[in-house]
Structure formats: C-alpha cells, structure tokens
Amino acid sequence: MQLLVNGENVNLNDGASVAALLQQLGYTGETFAVAVNGDFVPRATYDETTLSAGDQLDIVAPVVGG
C-alpha cells in the first residue's frame, strides 16, 4: 500500500503498523513524534496502530523556534 509520509510517497506492506513503518524508514531513538491523518499517535501505541492505504503521516523532530 502507498502512504504519504511527510509529504512523500512511501510503499509499505498492507496492514503494517506504525512501528513497522518507522523501522523501514530508519527512525530510531526518541527524538521524534508521529501523527496519522493529523491525529497524534502516542509512542506506546506504535505496535498496535495499523496503517491503511492513503494514510498521511507526519513525523516531526525538535527544531529551533521563536
């Protein structure tokens, strides 16, 4: 299935979880956070949160800010 991750197309196995996606893309550590279709997904639920074709994900990390 195809997803949009940070605005870019990503292919992932059907029914895969957020955890699987993060592993595929190489996200490690705890300095990022995830939203699916604009809703926050807590870190503790990455394994159980399954994705569907067309889902839009935002993966964010700290940046400078004013």
């Binding site: 300095t31 956070a33 995830v34």
Partner: protein, 269 residues
C-alpha cells in the same frame, strides 16, 4: 528582596525568555542564550527525515541547557493542528508547558482569538500549561483566563517587526485590569529600550527572538537585553516619578549667587 518570576508554580530569576531560531549558527545561539540569562527557551517541531541531524543537535542542546522548555505551535492555524502538535511536543520534550500559537493571518502573523480560546480550553483539559501568544484585547485575554490559562503573552507588535509596543493604551489597560495575571510581552520587541519600556509599564517578562538573533553581534545584544530587563524591572519596583507639564528646577534656588533684588527702570524714575 526576592523578586522572582512565578509561572505555573515555578520560579525564575530571569524575566527574559528567548527563542532559539534565526541565529547565524548553533554555537552563536548557545552562547547568546547563555549571555541572555534566560531560563525559559522556546522551540518547535517540524517534519524531519531520519538522516537530518538538526533534531539531534537541538536535542543535545536541550539536555545541556537546563532551561525550562517552552515548545510552540508556530504555524498552526486550527485548534486541531494545535492539539496534535501539542501532544507531539509533550511526548518529545516531556513538558506540559506550551506556547500556544494559532495564527489567523499570514501577513502579520496575528493570533486568531477564536481559535486561541477554543484550543486553550481543550489543551487545559488535557493537562497542558498554556502560555498563549495573544493580541492585546482585554476581552480575549479574559476569555483565555476563563478557560484556564494562568499566564498571557500579548504581542508588542507583529512577530519579527521590531516595532516595539504598538498599542500602549491597550497594553496599559491589560496591566491595570489584570493586576494578578503574569503578563509576558511576546513578539515585536526590536531594541532593549523597548524591553525597558515594557518592564517599566509593569509587564512581568519579555519573550523575544529576532532582536537578538538578527543583531550584528547576537551575544552582545543578548547581554544588552539582559541588562534592559533588569533595569526596567528595577525601575518598576522603584516607582517612576509622575510626569508634569511645567519645568521644575532640580538644583536648589535658595541662595543663588549673583542674585539681587532688582527694581525696574520705571520705579527708578
């Protein structure tokens, strides 16, 4: 005399809050924040791929800074966006503190008062300690207090303009009508003199970023703002004299030399 800034049950020595953006380099940012004496710094979250290292850099700085973190929701235009970004911030930065921004106009980055109140209400329910970046409208500020904000951050002028305190009447009204609410002037401060003015008017603190980051010498400007904030606060505590219309000599007039009781030419005649 202890004169600490109290926000959401925490006490701070410094009344200057600074942003971490727009500096010429991370090293200058670190040195400037340190020179400013700030104990509260603002940060944000943005999309990032694993190979990008800025997140790691910021993270390392956060660990060493010892500052209270104040993640913002800069760029958000709806309460839904704000809530999601706030939750992501809380997870990453491990703090309930949030600089709430809901932008209502792209041109002058003016806060959306309706969105602010709606977002603040939900965030307070979710346990956030909300510091809203708001306009200087008394009624909007009251609504924000009603929904549970304990601190307000009215703008001096639009973000990044450096125009100082644009509407002093409104700001003075806020100060007088909300005497017990911590009020932080956020945005628009371009020069230390403007920060002094805000503190003399009785605002509890000032939050700024561009004025330091875009100075020719950011570290020196950070020191200048530190001194300005301290000066303005001391002046407020000391109590300013009242302005008056007519001149009044400060040097004693009694026993002025060369003075003689004169008689007019008419009286000699």
């Amino acid at each position: 005399m202890t004169d600490k800034l109290k926000l959401y049950g925490k006490e701070f020595e410094s009344r200057l809050l600074v942003g971490t953006a727009l500096y010429p380099s991370p090293a200058v940012m670190r040195e400037s924040v340190s020179a400013s004496g700030a104990e509260i710094i603002t940060l944000s979250l943005r999309r990032q791929n694993p190979e990008q290292q800025q997140g790691k850099m910021i993270w390392d700085y956060i660990q060493e800074s010892g500052c209270q973190l104040l993640p913002n929701t800069a760029g958000c235009k709806t309460p839904k966006e704000v809530i999601a970004l706030a939750e992501m911030s809380r997870e990453i930065f491990a703090t309930d503190w949030l600089k709430l921004e809901v932008i209502g106009d792209d041109y002058n980055l003016q806060p959306d008062p309706y969105g602010l109140v709606e977002a603040a209400r939900e965030l307070v329910k979710r346990g956030f300690r909300v510091l809203p970046y708001c306009t200087d409208d008394l009624v909007v500020c009251r609504k924000l207090l009603d929904v549970g904000c304990e601190v307000l951050m009215p703008w001096g002028s639009p973000i990044g303009t450096g125009r100082g305190l644009m509407n002093k009447y409104n700001l003075q009204t806020l100060r007088e009508r909300l005497p017990d609410t911590p009020l932080i002037i956020d945005a628009g401060i371009g020069a230390p003199s403007q920060a002094v003015e805000a503190m003399e008017m009785g605002f509890d603190a000032v939050l700024l970023n561009t004025a330091i980051a875009k100075a020719q010498n950011p570290v020196l400007m950070a020191q200048a703002f530190k001194l300005a904030i301290e000066s303005g606060r001391a002046a407020r505590n000391a109590g300013l004299m009242l302005k008056r219309q007519t001149a009044s000599p400060s040097t004693p007039t009694l026993d002025m030399p060369f003075w003689q009781q004169t008689v007019t030419a008419g009286e000699n005649a």
